[in-house]
């Protein structure tokens, strides 16, 4: 019943590993570099500050894949930050600090919009359904239309 929705074009076959990499190849938007591997906390802060939409996720995470699809469906090209298992705990703490004092440590995948922590897949999907996602994306200058 549901066939050929526009953003299926963004997707390469399910067979390829590492959602971030294949997505980077498919994306044609003028936005910044789509992917990087987070080695230290400092680069996390930089990513969040410099990009309208950043997604922190474990490599090959399927939830991250879903988040990317949702965002791309709106014409946004999010920056994907692959998180190493070793750094995960440290990074999560750093993300909590970026999010603000007293914030809970976010679960991965974690989405930052306009320098602020937006949430995980649940929050993105909730906003997508309620119609709140697009205005937020526009505010963060992730969308021009």
């Amino acid at each position: 019943m549901q066939q050929a929705l526009p953003f299926r074009d963004w997707l390469t076959t399910a067979g390829s590993g590492g959602g971030g990499r294949s997505a980077a190849a498919a994306a044609a938007n003028a936005n910044s570099v789509s992917e990087s591997t987070i080695g230290d906390a400092g680069s996390a802060r930089k990513l969040v500050a410099e990009n309208a939409v950043v997604v922190f996720a474990r490599r090959g995470c399927c939830m991250c894949h879903v988040v990317q699809l949702l965002l791309r469906g709106h014409g946004v090209n999010p920056s994907i930050a692959d998180v190493d298992e070793q750094n995960e705990a440290d990074l999560a703490d750093e993300l909590a600090k970026i999010a603000g004092d007293g914030s809970a440590v976010p679960q991965l995948p974690a989405v930052f919009v306009g320098g602020e922590l937006f949430g995980g897949l649940e929050e993105v999907m909730g906003a997508h359904i309620s119609g709140e996602l697009v205005p937020r994306l526009r505010e963060a200058k992730a969308l021009w239309l």
Binding site: L5, G17, M63, V66, L69, G73, M125
Partner: protein
């Protein structure tokens, strides 16, 4: 039922005892109930009630010239009328209760048939793919999380059937929006409860949930990630059964449906990817060496992601329901819940009838 306290007042005139109701009865719901009691779909024949309950508890005293006696007989008339009203009301309540009991018994019967079918399934009457289903059934019932879930779900279905009947009566009556709102909130919360139950059960055994073993066969056929597909719900079940929508509502529903389809597609593709990764993980290394503990371990590690998908799919359902709730009027929301509920009932009954059809013996 109202509790009535009866005091026996010896009547000086007639020398008999008659029960006297508290004066409070007059202003109490007793009166209001009589006037605005919603006619249930089972058509309470008020005429019949009045006839059968036209009892006289006392006799009217002979009219008297004296004021004192005149007011006494007035009292008696009033008392008798009150007693009649009370008796009629009680009779109507009894009848209503009886009919409701019949209705829920009918639904219980259908449910029992489904349970019977499910038990048959678990006991291996229908064998599929060469798997020893009786063993499957055994291991599942020993998982306490799943056993709890199955029991709670059975209760959930019973409660839903009851709510559906109530909704049906409510919509057929001239109930106002304020009261209808209560039923709608009830229905919404009920679905919310189901999602909570499923999340807990998915942690206990995600395969039981995702395979739909807890549902009847027809429901299982239509399953999408352990539940209904929101866009399908909107298009096939809700839209055709709602009171005419305003232009704005039409637009909102159309947008919602599109959002649902996008979200469903994203989740489906995520699931496909997970499917591939799991297949890859279990098949890792040379197949044929007979040594695969490592692969088992790494695959099991990834099962947690499956449970998250179930939770996210349910979350999508929850969000969709809430958005629908925002878009529709109270009455439309009630119609929507009724439509959803009956749709599920139809599927369950379908499964029941299918499983009890005469099968050819080979």
């Amino acid at each position: 039922m109202n509790s009535t306290s009866a005091r026996f007042v010896p009547s000086k005139r007639m020398g008999i005892c008659e029960p006297m109701h508290q004066m409070a009865m007059w202003d109490f719901k007793g009166n209001n109930f009589l006037e605005t009691s919603p006619p249930s779909m089972f058509e309470i024949e008020t005429n019949l009630d009045n006839l059968s309950e036209d009892t006289s508890h006392g006799t009217v005293g002979p009219s008297s010239k004296y004021d004192q006696e005149a007011s006494k007989s007035d009292d008696k008339v009033r008392r008798r009328l009150a007693q009649n009203r009370e008796a009629a009301r009680k009779s109507r309540l009894r009848k209503k209760a009886y009919v409701q009991q019949l209705e829920s018994s009918k639904l219980r019967l259908i449910q029992l048939e489904q349970e019977l079918h499910r038990t048959r399934l678990q006991q291996g009457q229908y064998v599929g793919g060469g798997i020893d289903t009786s063993q499957l059934g055994y291991s599942e019932t020993t998982n306490p999380g799943i056993a709890t879930f199955e029991m709670e779900y059975g209760q959930w279905v019973e409660e839903q059937n009851r709510q559906i009947s109530e909704l049906r009566s409510a919509l057929n009556s001239d109930m106002g929006d304020m009261e209808l709102h209560i039923f709608v909130d009830c229905g919404m919360r009920h679905y919310s409860d189901l999602f909570t139950m499923k999340a807990t059960a998915a942690k206990a055994d995600v395969f039981h949930i995702i395979s739909g073993m807890w549902k009847t066969s027809a429901e299982r056929f239509f399953l999408w990630i352990a539940g209904f597909r929101p866009s399908e719900l909107l298009k096939q079940i809700l839209m055709p059964n709602l009171e005419p929508l305003t232009e704005q509502q039409r637009l909102d529903v159309s947008n919602l449906r599109q959002s649902c389809q996008q979200a469903e597609d994203a989740l489906s593709q995520g699931m496909e990817k997970l499917h591939y990764i799991l297949a890859e993980t279990i098949a890792e290394g040379q197949l044929g060496e007979g040594n695969y503990l490592h692969q088992i371990g790494s695959t099991i590690d990834k099962f947690e992601a499956l449970a998250r998908f179930v939770v996210q799919a349910d979350h999508l359902r929850q969000e969709t329901l809430q958005q629908i709730y925002r878009i529709l009027s109270t009455r439309q929301a009630a119609q929507g819940l009724l439509a959803m509920g009956e749709y599920l009932q139809r599927l369950r009954t379908l499964s029941s009838c299918w499983s009890s059809r005469p099968t050819e013996q080979t």
